[in-house]
């Protein structure tokens, strides 16, 4: 911590870091090159290099496999559940952080518990409830069940952001005649702007990546989300790895780039437990 590193330490430490870097990058590299290969090259002349690279898989995926429909479904479900969650949870988080009333702490505890409740416990009763509400096999039903994890997650994160903002400015505004609600909307929300964006991104990601609920609650091919569409490609007997990896790259790469660019927010959100690891 305080010591300057000796040469031996330097070699050891950077050597270790380079090994870690290889272990991290290799799977990503491999998925990228396989996505650029045709089946005959993947199976007959396996190689760690992108020989005979082609964009054929991406072309097939987008033109023959309804992948654009899957992307649209995912965008709709993740977008809608994020919007509802962030709307409800910014109101709730303000109430829980800034206002005082009876049972407030109990409501806070309830939200913390629901945040920790695993979806593995809920999918069976939810399947009965969704069927009863006639929402089985619809994207609306899926949005509904996504709120089970999206709403507690965004509330929990937003409470953190709100608490980190000093109350003084809101009090000043109220001295100047603003109502509580105005202070919340005109002062606190704009100050939390970047936090709101971060929370939206985390919630969106959680919904975009969700597999179990999507597998259970939607069955028609034209309603499938991206994770379901891709996972269906590997449960058969024939693996079209090129196609599968092309889909994985399209589903994963934008998020990975976004997260690396916004590293600071990501680290804060991660410290608050934004994404499961």
């Amino acid at each position: 911590m305080l010591d300057k590193l000796t040469l031996r330490q330097k070699i050891l430490y950077y050597g270790l870091l380079i090994l870690v870097a290889l272990a991290i990058i290799f799977p990503i590299y491999f998925m990228l090159i396989v996505s650029l290969k045709l089946p005959r090259d993947i199976y007959r002349t396996p190689s760690l290099l992108p020989l005979n690279a082609t964009l054929q898989n991406y072309d097939d995926l987008l033109n023959e496999n309804h992948f654009l429909t899957n992307i649209r479904n995912s965008l709709f479900v993740a977008g809608a559940s994020t919007f509802v969650s962030v709307l409800f949870s910014s109101m709730a988080a303000y109430s829980l952080v800034r206002l005082r009333y009876l049972y407030r702490d109990w409501i806070g505890r309830l939200i913390l518990f629901t945040y920790l409740t695993p979806s593995g416990l809920l999918f069976i009763p939810l399947s009965v409830i969704i069927a009863r509400m006639q929402l089985g096999n619809t994207l609306h039903g899926l949005i509904f069940v996504y709120l089970t994890f999206a709403a507690p997650l965004s509330t929990w994160l937003l409470m953190g952001y709100f608490k980190s903002i000093p109350i003084d400015l809101e009090e000043q505004a109220m001295v100047d005649g603003a109502t509580r609600l105005q202070a919340f909307i005109r002062i606190l929300l704009p100050l939390t702007g970047p936090g709101l964006v971060a929370v939206s991104v985390f919630t969106f990601t959680a919904a975009w990546n969700e597999l179990l609920f999507a597998l259970i609650f939607v069955s028609s091919p034209d309603l499938q989300t991206v994770p379901v569409a891709i996972s269906r490609l590997i449960t058969g007997d024939v693996f079209r790895w090129g196609l599968i990896m092309a889909g994985s790259i399209l589903a994963g790469l934008p998020l990975m780039i976004l997260y690396c660019l916004a590293q600071r927010f990501v680290v804060q959100g991660l410290a608050a437990g934004a994404v499961k690891g």
């Binding site: 991290i24 709730a92 206002l99 005082r100 416990l121 109350i167 693996f239 790895w241 608050a272 437990g273």
Partner: protein, 307 residues
Amino acid sequence: MSQGTMVDPAIEVRSPSRFSLRTSEGILGYLLVAPLVICILLLVVYPFVFAIYISFTDRVIGSEGEFIGLANYVTLMNKPDFQASIRNTIAMVSGIQIVKLGIGLGLAALLNQQIRARQFWRGLILLPWAMPAFVAFITWKLLYAPQGGAFNFILISTGLVDTHVDFLSTRELAMPSVIAASVWRGFPFWVISFLAAMQSVPRELYESAALDGAGGWQRFLNVTLPGIRHVVLVVILISTIWTTNSFEAVWLLTQGGPSNATMTFPVLAYYGLQSLRIGEAAAVSVAMLPIFAVLALIVAVRLQKED
């Protein structure tokens, strides 16, 4: 939000309001929190209680079923699938968590040294975690594949093995393979949380330890570890809840096979739902409730204490 604690560490700034009546504050408070609470009651609390109720019935799809007491649990106890899923869940979760703890502490301590371009390394370590879980596990399925997979290609072309190794369909290899993939995807959370905590340990503590003649290892044991122990505990507990309930890893890699060698609770419950015997499937997921409840309770108490 400063770094170093699991929840937002900012001190709550709260001075008694002088600007409005307490009652109006209360009414506004309830109004604002109501949509979320209704949402949670309907979508989490009710299903949660409902799951427990269903697990005591012989409900199937299309029929409400009758109350049959503990019969589902008795049936389950005698099922090899269920016994396997208990053993596997415990083995898998402890394997994953022990490896992640080791890597997490080691790498965080390493990055806490005078390392150049720490931001760069931290960003790099974030990559597996920024990848959607389903993408990560599908990629690992490809890495393990006997035909066209990277590991077999490397093993065979370097002459380490003569024939293809079927990592995911061999009884002895399936579990370690699932563990390795889960560790790859999950370790960034541990490293980054531990690193943030280590960086918030006051420098003076290290300085005075150094004056007392403590070496690097002793400082790690006597200053770093005590300084980050709360974060370590909360990370272990939260991650254990998630890992115990992780469906993607097993489903995408092995679907519980070969012959139940990697069957875990969530996958077994999913199969139960597919078989349409809802009562029994609910009993599988409710059976893991006690573990979850204990872990969640400790986390909740810890996190609220930090407030």
